[in-house]
Assembly symmetry: C2
Homo-oligomer: 114 residues x 2
């Protein structure tokens, strides 16, 4: 159940374009809240709200340094999210393959009986 | 911008354990709403709400057949979601590699100057 909750938070955190861009920016290096807010033309409280969601998913950590808040990528990884998607796709593609083989066999049988 | 909105809906759809289980179930084959609701011990209207979110993300399609609603996986794929995560991870790992090389060089310099 813990795992579910981590996946829930990870996918929810990724469901917003601003939050995805914050992660992309932080993958290039740490930044302050105001540095993050600037390219979006967003207020600092508005941006902080997104950062909080990323913090709850452990994708970002923040640290107050004097009057500024420094943000960097956190210990949370996207491995579980990537793995869920990959497992699902493999199952689905496996099913399509089996369906394809079945249709192929049906065609051969039809050909043989004609 | 269209692409962003598709990714938003995909990730939001995946942020709930019931919806992820519905997708896993449908990857094994089509099912009616009541067949889907049963293992969760959930009411049909409750389950239908989740199915609607999956429909909006094009991950599921439904079709009314007489008195039952048949659900199957839709044309929406998780390729874009998987690709976003993969690109992000590569960038982040690339940065860690560069940081590792930098620290290695610093260590060598320190060793050489001692």
């Amino acid at each position: 159940m813990v795992k579910y909750s981590v996946l829930d938070r990870t996918f929810a955190a990724l469901s917003d374009p601003t939050r995805r861009e914050i992660l992309e920016r932080l993958a290039r290096g740490p930044a302050t809240i105001s540095e993050l807010a600037q390219p979006f033309g967003m207020s600092m409280p508005g941006l902080l709200k997104h950062v909080r969601v990323l913090e709850q998913a452990h994708l970002v950590t923040t640290e107050k340094q004097g009057r500024v808040r420094q943000c960097r990528l956190g210990p949370g990884q996207l491995d579980d999210a990537a793995q869920w998607i990959e497992t699902y796709r493999r199952r689905w593609e496996g099913r399509l393959d089996r369906l394809g083989s079945y249709l192929e066999r049906q065609k051969e049988r039809k050909g043989a009986s004609q």
